[in-house]
Amino acid sequence: MIRARGLGRRFGAKRVLRDLDLEVPTGGFLLVTGANGSGKSTLLALIAGLLAPTEGEVDVELPRERIGYLAHEPLVYRELTALENLDLYGRLYHVPERRETIGALLERFGLWEARHQRVGSYSRGMQQRLALCRVLLHDPELLLLDEPYSGLDASAQTLVDDVLAESVGTRTLVVASHDPEHVGPLSTQALALA
């Protein structure tokens, strides 16, 4: 599903990733750990296709519409409501039964009451939960999650735990975290970046 050979990425003069070989089979679960600045986010962005490698190559055997990417930023418009944001992404990803799917996700992540509020007024935790809705909206086969627990309180963290638990086996997962206690047991592979 995901294959990387000699993968490297530099930003200007600074090399963030160097000579990385990787293989994640379909249904696998890769946990990426490392300190801040070790290149976890860069690796996920490379797999997602947002960045191009400066050395080597990375191959993902899926079209863009089957990939879900959770970044550091929620990638939603602050001036729009949660509903409007998800509606936009729903249209762009050609989600069938868009309204129902959006409604169900908002309910699940506890944002239904706040669906008509501008995202700019959301707390960090709410924005992260909205981002999770965005990521799951089109039922992707590959989930790339960059620090999914950041900004979440305990109850919200269980939401993420549930997502991971139900995804194991049905989806391929790559999760980056600098605090891997939650995820460790579920993962099938681990990669520690220096």
């Binding site: 191009a52 930023e73 990638l75 418009y77 602050r78 729009l80 249209r91 762009l92 501008r118």
Partner: protein
Amino acid sequence: MTYFADVAALARKDILLELRSRDTLPAMLLFVVSALVVFHFSLPSDASATASTGLLWIALLFTALLGLGRAFSAEREQRVLDGLVLAPCDRSAIWLAKSLGVLAFLGVAEAVALPAYALFFGPVGWELVAAIVLADIGLAAVGTLLAAMAAASRARELLLPLLFLPLVIPVVVGGVGATVVEDPGRYLGFLALYDLIFAILSWASFEYVVAE
């Protein structure tokens, strides 16, 4: 076709954003009228009608720059552009939707600027309106692409005018020419040619500007 459905979805989003924040369009309207007033004071009393036409085009050009500077500001803020780029839609659809939005803004700005111009300076003929319509298309097409380029750089507000002005010199020539010369046909045709060439070029190369 899904392509146009994607463009429609993106355009809807842009209109919604402007209705919510209401900052770009009012600024453009105020700017263009202020510019026209400044031009009144900068023109000597014996200046010809054609000189004031030239100044109108300058005012429109810089109003366009103002609007274009804000074109990708919402996407830039939270790197939302990444979200759009990851979506399965053709990246050129992003360009098309944005250009249509910029075109709409320019249209509204001109709907205010032209009456103001008629009030302050002189009558507005059909050639001027036709030239403006054609010029807008070129300005929106090229400007949207350049705005995306500038958004990817460190020096955004500084870079956009530098990239924009040399490229739109032909538009100024076509626009002023059509207004001033006896037979505007050639100039309107030239504007149409410019629009065709650069709209196609912008449409085809937008992919490479927003995605790696």
